[in-house]
């Protein structure tokens, strides 16, 4: 399922290697971290279905099924919906045909949402997100040079934003800082792509951070390695990156006590 990818005139994707990397990704989550991983069935007709993050935003007990900006991906939502329903979450569907939202543009900091207004996400989509998660402030951040807001940033800790060094990334960070009543710490990494990492707070493991491997981004990896309190797990993502895939793209994290 995760093979067929809509690449943008980039280098050829080594499907086999991509598969291996993804298996490793899942393996870490499931095996090393003890998370319950629900894998959506691959659908060859949906080349981007591996990037499950874009089709759902889950926060607490509520899941918002998005309306992806790329029309070819709209059908991906169906599979996600089935799975989320099985998890007994409050499900909100984005039915407005004027709205588009990719989960990759949604950064939840734990205190508020930042929504990147990109080619894939528009104002209306952000509004629906705000209507869905009323407890939280939803601020919009213009995203121009990247596919998604989270193409160059992510949460690396409870109050820590990992951010790339590019001008666009720094500008977006400033926007976010201005828009927020909270003061976030920032972790600046040389490579924008490396700024997309996965932070997990697992009761038995503490702070866990999945970040790009040193082989891929050695300088950025060094920055991550300075995080003393985190369990650092480097993960390679070389192949999916060729199709604009990042670490967070391939999963939707749901905080659900082990009821399943």
């Amino acid at each position: 399922c995760r093979q067929a990818l809509r690449s943008t005139a980039g280098p050829e994707v080594d499907f086999a290697r991509a598969e291996r990397e993804h298996q490793l990704y899942v393996g870490v989550l499931r095996g090393k971290l003890g998370l319950q991983v629900l894998e959506l069935p691959a659908d060859e007709s949906l080349p981007d279905c591996v990037f499950v993050e874009d089709v759902a935003v889950v926060c607490e007990e509520t899941a918002l099924l998005t309306r992806p900006g790329a029309p070819s991906r709209r059908k991906e939502v169906e599979a996600m919906k089935r799975v989320l329903e099985s998890l007994n979450l409050n499900i909100v569907e984005m039915v407005d045909e004027n709205a588009t939202l990719d989960g990759g543009d949604v950064l939840f900091t734990g205190r508020e949402f930042f929504v990147g207004l990109s080619r894939r996400t528009n104002q209306r989509g952000a509004e629906i997100l705000a209507d869905t998660f009323k407890d939280y402030a939803v601020s919009t951040v213009p995203v121009h040079d990247s596919l998604h807001l989270k193409s160059f940033c992510s949460m690396a800790g409870p109050n820590l934003i990992a951010i790339g060094s590019s001008e666009a990334a720094q500008k977006a960070l400033k926007t976010m800082q201005q828009m927020s009543d909270h003061r976030y710490d920032k972790l600046t990494v040389p490579d924008d792509a490396a700024a997309n990492c996965i932070y997990l707070n697992i009761p038995s493991k503490g702070h866990v951070l999945l970040h790009r491997a040193p082989e891929e981004y050695p300088e950025s990896a060094k920055v991550f390695e300075k995080l003393k309190d985190h369990m650092l797990i480097p993960i390679a993502n070389t192949e999916l990156e060729k199709v604009d895939g990042s670490l967070t793209c391939c999963s939707v994290l749901i905080n659900k006590s082990s009821e399943l």
Partner: protein, 1063 residues
């Protein structure tokens, strides 16, 4: 009434009454009792008689009349309906109104009465007294007639109190009321006035209804002239609420137009129609409710939030609705009891706008999990969850952006939020905002330049109407002051350009109320938690508002609808008035302003004006500080004292400087925008008067301090004017007095004033330009001249506005507010964040006092520098101490207070040293300087960024003011000596740092010098990198003031109380 009315009535009453009033005032002084008796004997006749007496008293009366007459005319245009309405309302009302007018403020009047009996200028004794006397006010009014001088002081007191309490709206309302009063007087008020005098004890009362948060209704009878504070205190007493600074009284003007009752102004001037119906609401939502001292306070906050949530004003998710609802049940019903609490017990409560069965089930489910929580604990949990909601404490206002797109502006503790639909599209933290202003229906914020940018940017928003713009502006000013400042900012000086509202928040800040709360020492009061069933349902929508509206409508219909409309239009009644008058006068004035500016010959007069303005500000500042200090000390004593302090904090604090204070109270009173405007006008008038007569000149310095002005005026030879002023109107009491006096002396002034009005308006518009000019113009002389001219113009405009009180606010009413004082701190924060995100906390913990005093003089004429750093530091210390260590803080505070006093004295001395003349100017300047600074900011292009945080130690300013009085005269004489154009002190506090900026502008010969002293206090528990902090401070200072050079850096390190100075 007649006499009193005369003072206040100047504006109110048309030329007819005004003349009498003035005359009355004077006669009152001369023969107070006789007038009173006369008035009492026959209201109508008495008035007449009183009128003649006033006329006989002095030409000033005639002048006043003339001046007032124009105003009255303008007012009358607006007022006629109102007056009619009032008359229709009650025959007795007119009497009361005149009385009120005379006293300016009821309290003031009362006080004045008592004071009058005691002495002429001591009216300021205390707000408390005034409040107490309110009831007596009627009788007082009678007395007042006799004692004009007394009235003035009382007015001052009232003003002070008002200032403390601060209510923006009140100003406008007061103006309106004044207008009304005048109308009444015109028609048959005179008679009525006499009547009241005859039966002084006759106190017309108005029944007030206050909808409380628990859904119950509290009603009481208030004297018609009662200020908002009286009612608010009654309500709080009824509620047994001590931490009341977070709350306020709302009334609805139109259907949905919520207005906060200005506690410092008379209610009747704020509400134009009967009945008086209010809702008791949370005004400032504490960001951390757990820091509230008493459970009962949290309880009321809970009630408010339940309303907010149930009505949908505070949106939250399903889960949150359920959770909060469950805490509500726990708090009100206790532990879940399966026997007692059946399935439907929840449906009686309203937890959400759209409550579903599913939600109720969830609530019940969660309720069961809260077993064991006490009501107070449940409330605390409720608040802990509610405070995290993104819209908690956000006051939303509809607006359009520059492109006409509908947006919402949200004012909250941290700053201004911009929403488009539900999305936050921008945010301006208070530290980022250099200035807040409004003009007509436009609302502007000037934003600090971004890191790499050099120029400040001004962002404009379009509000539905002028009133909405002003309302938003006021809310911003209040929120910034309450949450960001240590102590209330002094009312704006009559900035050269800004004619608009001088409204400032006069209540206690969060820091002050927290300090005061620490002194609360009473057993937790017992209170009964009412079922939220009622609450939620009664409070849900805007039924209250609707009912109010309907009531209002009915009332207006009966009383006079025209008035109602006008009232509505008059966000500030004064504004409307101003508009009319402004229209008439303004047009010409606009043209004239330039002319006036061109006319440098008026410099001296201009200076005087500026001084007056400054004085006002300084007075305000001082009072506030004093209040805080005094309050703190008092609070220590006992609960009762606490209450009193809350009520009266301002007046009592400075017993030492009574005279000065007296002056200051006037300025304080002026806080109301309208009032302020009026005051400014009055000041200008005074200035004119001063020019004409020596005593007034003395008074002119006074204006700065209001009280002083009154004192001087009274003492000198303007007792009549003073009386008039006191009578004139609470807001402008001090000012009004001066104005009145000026009016009396100067008939011609009116014309000038009009011209000034125009100027003011133009100035306002062109403020930025002017400011730039000032700032940019390095040529000291030219700059000076401009400033002077500006000042003059501003002062003149103010005068005119005062004369036409409404003229100022009107169409072009502009309000400016500079919140940036803390910019430095923030800058520091930001840098730290960027560079040292991780280290911030540590630094914060550390305590460092870094004083970077960059002194830049574009014009190189070094003028004497007043150094207030010590004071600032002390204050800062206080703040930090108070917040962090309350127990210790008291002692420290005392110590600090002593130090401050010393410092203040020194400062005063310095000021006087600079130039005797200058000193007065300095005082004035202190306020105007702020304006100037603003101007500078505007011109920022020129690069000077002024961080004008004006949390200046009020005391200092006051002290200065005192000195100034005498100096003003000198200043005129010593034109060549350096003249303090402006002195500004801004203090900003951040969590860990406090920045105080003192900006002094001196004009000497042809050279002007601007000195900026910045005090940056970094407080922390851990070690701080002093060098780094210092480097940053210097760097910031350089960045902020590229044109200026850093001439001196002083570093103080304090460990606990020990201080180490490093130069």
């Amino acid at each position: 009434m007649t006499t009193e009315v005369g003072s206040e009535a100047e504006v109110k009453k048309d030329s007819e009454q005004l003349g009498p009033d003035k005359a009355k005032d004077k006669p009152e002084e001369a023969s107070e009792t006789p007038d009173d008796q006369k008035s009492r004997e026959t209201s109508g006749e008495a008035q007449d008689s009183s009128v003649p007496a006033p006329t006989s008293q002095s030409s000033p009366n005639s002048q006043k009349k003339e001046k007032s007459s124009p105003e009255s005319k303008g007012i009358s245009r607006f007022l006629p309906p109102w007056l009619k309405k009032q008359k229709s309302y009650t025959l007795a009302e007119p009497k009361d109104e005149p009385k009120k007018r005379a006293t300016g403020e009821e309290q003031g009047v009362e006080e004045s009465e008592s004071q009058a009996l005691e002495g002429v200028a001591q009216p300021r004794k205390s707000l408390e007294e005034a409040a107490e006397n309110r009831e007596n006010a009627k009788a007082d009014d009678k007395e007042k007639h006799s004692i004009s001088a007394e009235i003035q002081p009382s007015k001052e007191d009232g003003k002070e109190t008002e200032v403390e309490e601060a209510a923006e709206k009140k100003e406008e309302k007061q103006e309106e009321k004044e207008n009304r009063e005048t109308k009444e007087v015109q028609t048959a008020d005179i008679k009525t006035d006499n009547i009241p005098q005859k039966s002084p004890k006759k106190i017309k009362t108005v029944q007030c209804k206050v909808m409380l948060l628990d859904g119950t209704e509290y009603s009481c009878d208030l004297e018609k002239r009662a200020k908002g504070q009286v009612l608010f205190d009654k309500v709080c007493e009824h509620l047994n609420l001590l931490e009341k600074d977070y709350f306020g009284l709302l009334f609805y003007e139109n259907s949905e137009q919520k207005n906060w009752l200005d506690s410092s102004k008379e209610i009747k001037r704020q509400i134009r129609s009967l009945p008086w119906i209010f809702t008791f609401n949370v005004k400032f939502y504490p960001p951390d409710p757990s820091q509230l001292t008493e459970d009962i306070t949290r309880y009321f906050l809970c009630l408010q939030l339940r309303q907010d949530i149930a009505s949908g004003r505070l949106p939250c998710s399903f889960v949150t609705h359920a959770l909060l609802g469950s805490y509500t049940l726990q708090a009100e019903l206790g532990d879940h009891d399966p026997e007692e609490h059946r399935s439907d017990y929840i449906s009686e409560f309203q937890f959400a706008p759209n409550q579903t069965q599913e939600m109720e089930e969830k609530v019940a489910e969660l309720h069961k999990t809260h077993r064991g929580l006490t009501p107070a604990q449940a409330d605390s949990q409720f608040l802990e969850n509610a405070k995290r909601l993104s819209m908690y404490g956000v006051d939303l206002h509809h607006a359009k952006d520059s492109e006409g797109v509908d947006i919402m502006l949200g004012v909250c503790a941290n700053g201004l939020l911009i929403y488009k639909d539900r999305l936050r599209i921008n945010r301006f933290a208070w530290p980022k905002i250099l200035k807040i202003s409004y003009k007509r229906s436009n609302f502007y914020i000037k934003v600090r330049p971004a890191e790499q940018e050099q120029f400040e940017s001004t962002i404009g928003f379009k509000l539905p109407n002028h009133r909405a713009a002003k309302r938003l502006w006021k809310v911003c000013v209040e929120h910034h002051t309450f949450f960001r400042l240590v102590s209330p900012e002094q009312p704006p000086k009559a900035k050269f350009l800004t004619l608009g509202s001088k409204f400032r928040y006069s209540g206690r800040t969060q820091a002050q109320t927290r300090q005061a709360s620490t002194l609360i020492d009473r057993p937790a009061p017992y209170f009964e938690r009412t079922s939220s069933k009622r609450v939620s349902r009664s409070l849900d929508g805007a039924p209250m508002g609707i009912s109010d509206q309907s009531l209002l409508r009915d009332f207006s219909a009966t009383g006079g609808q025209a008035a109602g409309d006008k009232i509505i239009d008059l966000e500030a009644a004064g504004q409307a008035k101003l508009k009319e008058s402004g229209r008439e006068e303004d047009e010409s004035p606009l043209k004239t302003p330039q002319l006036e500016l061109a006319q440098d010959g008026k410099i001296s007069s201009l200076r005087v004006d500026g001084e007056n303005i400054y004085v006002r500000h300084s007075n305000l500042m001082l009072e506030d500080l004093d209040k805080t200090q005094d309050d703190l000390l008092k609070h220590q004593a006992s609960i009762s004292e606490l209450k009193r302090n809350f009520m009266e904090s301002t007046p009592e604090p400075r017993p030492n400087e009574w005279e000065k204070r007296r002056i200051t109270p006037l300025s304080l009173q002026t806080q109301g925008s309208l009032e302020e405007e009026i005051t400014s006008i009055l000041f200008s008038k005074e200035r004119f008067g001063a020019g004409t007569s020596g005593p007034f000149a003395a008074a002119s310095p006074g204006p700065a301090e209001g009280a002083a002005g009154e004192q001087t005026g009274a003492a000198a030879a303007a007792p009549g004017p003073q009386r008039h002023a006191s009578r004139a109107e609470g807001p402008c009491t001090g000012v009004s007095d001066a104005d009145k006096s000026s009016h009396e002396t100067l008939d011609i002034v009116e014309e000038k004033k009009q011209a000034e009005f125009g100027i003011e308006e133009t100035l306002v518009i062109d403020e930025t330009n002017k400011g730039k000019m000032q700032v940019a113009t390095d040529a000291g002389e030219t700059c000076k001249v401009e400033h002077v001219s500006k000042k003059d113009s501003s002062s003149l405009p103010s005068d005119s506005s005062s004369s036409s009180s409404s003229s100022e606010s009107e169409d072009e009413e502009v309000g400016e507010y500079l919140p940036h004082h803390r910019a430095i701190e923030e800058v520091i924060r930001e840098e730290q964040e960027e560079e040292e995100d991780m280290k911030r906390k540590e630094r914060e913990e550390n305590t460092q006092h870094v004083e970077a005093i960059p002194e830049g003089s574009k014009l190189n004429v070094p003028v004497e520098h007043t150094q207030v750093p010590a004071e600032d530091l002390v204050q800062e210390n206080r703040v930090t101490v108070a917040t962090e260590e309350k127990n210790l803080s008291e002692q420290i505070k005392q110590d600090l207070g002593e130090e401050k006093e010393e410092e203040q004295l020194k400062l005063n001395g310095d000021v006087s040293h600079v130039d005797i003349d200058v000193a007065p100017q300095l005082i004035c300047c202190s306020e105007p300087p702020v304006v100037k600074t603003e101007m500078v900011t505007i011109s920022d292009a020129t690069q000077r960024t002024e961080i004008s945080t004006k949390e200046i130690p009020i005391v200092q300013t006051e002290t200065k003011t005192i000195t100034y009085e005498s100096s003003q005269l000198d200043g005129n004489a010593v034109g060549d000596t350096g003249v303090l154009v402006s002195a500004q002190t801004i203090t900003s506090e951040s969590i860990s740092t406090t920045t105080t900026t003192h900006i002094t502008k001196m004009v000497k010969g042809g050279v002007s010098e601007t000195r900026i002293e910045k005090r940056i206090v970094i407080t922390g528990d851990a070690d701080i990198d002093h060098d780094e902090a210092l480097a940053q401070a210097i760097k910031e200072a350089k960045e902020q003031h590229p044109d200026m050079s850093v001439t001196r850096v002083v570093v103080h390190k304090e460990t606990e109380l020990a201080e180490e100075d490093e130069d």
